[in-house]
């Protein structure tokens, strides 16, 4: 039985902790509390989600009919560049960091991050990176060479406005923040776990964040180096990527995608972890195949560095090189795909509650499968030779980023909202939001698969009135407006929950992990007392001692023998 008790304490008092909470904004700005920083990340993310979404809606107005003149080509190119850059670097990446910074210390039974001041620094430098990127609109033009900013189009002779310089500096700053937070998370997980929490007892979300931290540490330096080189090209007449002066256009692509492909997994692994928590708790069962879920996360992170050339199959690299990257890209589909069956296995035999969070999680299973399958079609090189750089890719990447990452983040948001705010949200509003968003999403992006197959290239500000183009683009635009409209319901839901929501209590979902043990919202000091850990769901063991995992052998718990 659970008898002994652990008392984790921060070793030194933290500066932010001494500021009184009634000092309002100053308290937030000066805060080094991981929960407040996590919340600031989430507010920033939500803000940029609306900004990035607004850019997308403007693009969809332009593309609603053929040969539309709503936007000039230059403006359109700035919009799609800023849309992509915003969504990747200022929505998805900080969203996963924010969730991790908020939840990881709580889930491992720590009271703080390992480096609280670095944590605050990382948030603020990312925040200012974003502001600087958007300042480019006032400084002579936003970047207009795409979020991928291919050379030599990113050189001054082809893109003379200072937009791309702001792109370099803005992303470098936020990149420094991302790398700092990744290091911080890794050290936190290694050093600050409650003493009885062995690695094999880490909650799945913590595992995914842990793996992800190393992925970030390995991938972001490649981007940061490429951005510094590009800045040298543009400001100091360097010749790294300037083909007119003998530079290499493909070098940029290698450096960019060596970061860019792992980035896809960077923003999807933590949502995988989130979903694993959500499926467990709402199905009332432990995750199906815990060792496999963790192991496949590790496999994905390793394979992630062997697949970047599948973005470059149409650059003429030759069949030998292409075959290698085709095989590795297909292989990464196996651990990714199998996770889908792990989650289905978690639901199997459970007692499932379809809350808004669970609805997003189940919808994720379908949307992410579609995104994953269409992803395999790019690993099959000859299909890629037809479909790369078409709207089929646009459809695919939105199924992965939006139907995958963002649906996962929404699932986590609704799952953790009572913990973070201390209030329950209205399930009725939540369901309205879910269904409208999901229908709008599929209307928008499913059509784009077909648009790609019938020959519409991506990144075009307009298109000729060819068979099918107009109708499919119109449906796609209407879907985008449905999605945009549903976001207003989301805003109202937040307002309603914070204003009128019922008190949530410590553990409204009967959750399994340590965050549900503290108050909602958690006090500045997360824990004063913690039970010892015998499994990866300690709170379940505590609340349901008659069926608790701690009674079982490791073989029963994990399907493996204890080798620790």
């Amino acid at each position: 039985m659970i008898t002994d008790v652990q008392l984790p304490e921060p070793k030194t008092p933290l500066p932010g902790a001494t500021v009184n909470s009634d000092q309002g904004l100053l308290m937030w700005i000066s805060s080094v509390d991981h929960k407040q920083i996590g919340i600031m990340y989430m507010i920033m993310t939500l803000f940029y989600l609306f900004v990035g979404g607004l850019l997308a809606l403007l693009m969809r107005v332009q593309l609603m009919m053929p040969e539309n003149t709503f936007l000039a080509p230059d403006s359109y190119n700035q919009l799609f560049t800023m849309h992509g850059t915003t969504m990747i670097f200022f929505v998805l990446t900080p969203a996963i960091l924010g969730m991790a910074v908020y939840m990881v210390p709580l889930q491992i039974g720590a009271n703080e991050m390992a480096f609280p001041r670095l944590n605050a620094f990382a948030f603020w430098i990312s925040f200012f990176g974003g502001l600087l990127l958007y300042f480019s609109f006032l400084a002579g033009g936003a970047p207009d060479a795409g979020w991928f900013s291919y050379a030599p189009l990113n050189q001054t002779q082809y893109s003379a406005s200072p937009g791309i310089d702001y792109y370099c500096i803005g992303l470098l700053l936020s990149g420094i923040g991302t790398v700092s937070t990744a290091a911080n998370l890794a050290v936190t997980i290694i050093t600050l776990r409650t003493p009885s929490m062995k690695y094999k007892y880490l909650p799945v979300f913590v595992w995914m964040v842990f793996i992800n931290a190393f992925l970030i540490l390995a991938a972001f330096p490649s981007l940061n180096a490429a951005l510094a080189m590009l800045l040298i090209d543009r400001q100091l007449d360097g010749h790294f990527f300037n083909t007119d002066a003998g530079g290499s256009a493909l070098l940029w692509q290698h450096l960019f995608w060596l970061f860019g492909h792992p980035e896809v997994y960077i923003v999807v692994l933590p949502p995988f972890g989130v979903l694993s928590e959500v499926f467990q708790v709402y199905s009332r069962k432990p995750i199906f195949g815990y060792p496999f879920v963790v192991g496949s996360g590790i496999a994905i992170s390793l394979l992630a560095f062997g697949v970047w050339v599948h973005h470059m199959f149409a650059t003429g690299m030759g069949n030998t090189v292409n075959s290698f990257f085709a095989v590795s890209s297909m292989l990464i589909g196996i651990p990714t795909g199998v996770k889908i069956f792990n989650w289905l296995g978690t639901m199997y035999g459970g007692s499932i509650r379809f809350t808004t969070g669970m609805l997003f999680a189940t919808a994720f299973l379908v949307e992410f499968t579609i995104g994953g399958l269409s992803g395999i079609s790019f690993a099959i090189v000859p299909i890629d030779w037809q479909l790369t750089d078409t709207y089929y890719v646009v459809a695919h990447l939105h199924y992965v980023f939006l139907g995958g990452s963002l649906f996962g983040l929404f699932a986590g948001f609704f799952y953790w909202f009572p913990k973070i705010s201390g209030r329950m949200y209205s399930e009725t509003l939540g369901k309205w939001f879910f269904w409208l968003f999901m229908i709008g999403f599929n209307m928008t992006f499913f059509m784009q698969h077909i648009l790609g197959i019938i020959g519409m290239p991506r990144r075009v500000y307009t298109y000729p009135n060819l068979a099918g183009y107009s109708l499919l683009n119109l449906i796609s635009s209407l879907g985008a407006f449905l999605m945009g409209g549903s976001m207003l319901i989301f805003l109202y839901l937040l307002y309603d929950a914070i204003k009128r929501g019922k008190r949530a209590g410590d553990n409204p979902w009967d959750g399994y992990t340590f965050e549900w043990l503290t108050s909602s919202p958690p006090a500045l000091k997360n824990f004063t007392i913690l039970p010892p850990v015998y499994s990866f769901r300690p709170v379940h063991d505590l609340n349901h001692p008659e069926i608790g995992d701690y009674q079982k052998s490791d073989e029963e718990k994990y399907g493996t023998k204890d080798t620790d």
């Binding site: 060479a145 030599p152 189009l153 082809y158 007119d244 256009a249 493909l250 009332r284 069962k285 432990p286 199906f288 195949g289 496999f292 149409a314 003429g316 069949n319 292409n322 085709a326 297909m330 589909g333 196996i334 795909g337 199998v338 069956f341 289905l344 296995g345 639901m347 035999g349 007692s351 499932i352 509650r353 379809f354 379908v366 499968t369 579609i370 399958l373 079609s377 690993a379 099959i380 000859p382 299909i383 037809q386 790369t388 197959i453 019938i454 020959g455 290239p457 991506r458 990144r459 075009v460 500000y461 298109y463 000729p464 068979a467 099918g468 349901h544 069926i547 029963e556 994990y558 399907g559």
Partner: protein
């Protein structure tokens, strides 16, 4: 609105290479739909069957099943193995390495924002409307003059990036005569949208005749007005960007205009080639195709009239 059944894209291939890719794509779509159906089917089943009912206690807690996990890994691995084989086989077929010294049948160069085609061994150089012979395995070389573009005619086979400082190749064996549309597929700047491709596939004899015609210098029998246009053209900076074979104009920034009057489209597919559109273009190029490299010269109306007469006379 036109009918979907007319869609002339890569799933209705017109070359041997596109044909191989289309059948591989068809197998893939079948396999993908099967996997998707399995996932959706299982999801609906567990969602309906295991939905919480009032009064339910905690369900049986189990964390794995070795047999199920074995299938979960085994089946996808098998599927992946099959597609790996098909992929590598198709690649070898569609894109074999050419012999080092093999002369290409056509060289395509991507420019901002138009396409140039030259036919090695002949003097023919054309823009945007590209003729090719049917029934022969053609080696197409692809390069770029400024930034990265991408050659893509879906019905004729693989797309290929045009990268400055690099020569890429594709093969195409066109099976039936016809007009095949394509577009630049790599973002290349302001007018990426209007960099469309028109390939006219012809029987060998017709193609030879066409090449012979394109080898001719520019027309010299001109009306008085067209002659005035020719004089105007040669005294203005036009020739530093455009070429008209048989005259001093020898630029290569803009399209070759030697046989401009015989083209059906202008501005890489943006407009039909007729005197009215040409006048609009010469008067306000940045309104017609903003971001194109053609500057606004602000020529007087009658100079533009004679220029239009000259250019349309170049057949």
């Amino acid at each position: 609105m036109e009918k979907f059944s007319q869609l002339p894209y890569f799933l209705s291939p017109a070359s041997g290479q596109a044909d191989r890719i289309a059948s591989l794509t068809t197998y893939f779509i079948i396999a993908a739909l099967f996997v998707l159906a399995v996932v959706i089917g299982l999801l609906i089943y567990v969602s309906v069957r295991f939905r919480a009912k009032p009064g339910d206690g905690e369900p049986k807690q189990f964390t794995g099943n070795k047999v199920v996990e074995g299938f979960m890994i085994g089946v996808p691995t098998l599927l992946v193995a099959v597609f790996m084989y098909l992929t590598i086989d198709t690649m070898a077929n569609v894109m074999p390495a050419p012999a080092g010294n093999q002369r290409p049948d056509v060289v395509i160069t991507g420019h901002r924002y138009w396409w140039e085609a030259s036919y090695p061994g002949t003097k023919a150089i054309v823009a945007n409307e590209i003729h090719l012979p049917v029934g022969r395995k053609l080696l197409v070389h692809i390069n770029a003059a400024d930034v990265i573009h991408d050659w893509w005619v879906p019905q004729l086979g693989a797309k290929m990036d045009a990268i400055p400082g690099r020569t890429n190749y594709v093969w195409t064996t066109i099976q039936k005569p016809g007009v095949y549309e394509g577009a630049c597929s790599e973002f290349c700047g302001a007018q990426h949208a209007w960099m469309r491709i028109k390939v006219v596939a012809q029987p060998e004899a017709e193609f030879r005749k066409w090449v012979a015609q394109k080898e001719q210098d520019a027309t010299t029998q001109l009306s008085a007005s067209a002659q005035a246009g020719a004089a105007f053209f040669s005294h203005q900076p036009c020739g530093s960007c455009h070429r008209i074979r048989g005259t001093a104009a020898n630029g290569n920034v803009g399209p070759d205009l030697t046989h401009f009057g015989s083209r059906k489209i202008m501005l890489a597919g943006l407009l039909e080639n007729n005197p009215e559109n040409l006048r609009k273009w010469l008067t306000e190029p940045q309104h017609v195709k903003p971001g194109a490299l053609m500057p606004r010269f602000g020529y007087p109306k009658d100079s533009i009239t004679v220029l239009v007469d000259y250019l349309t006379a170049l057949k």
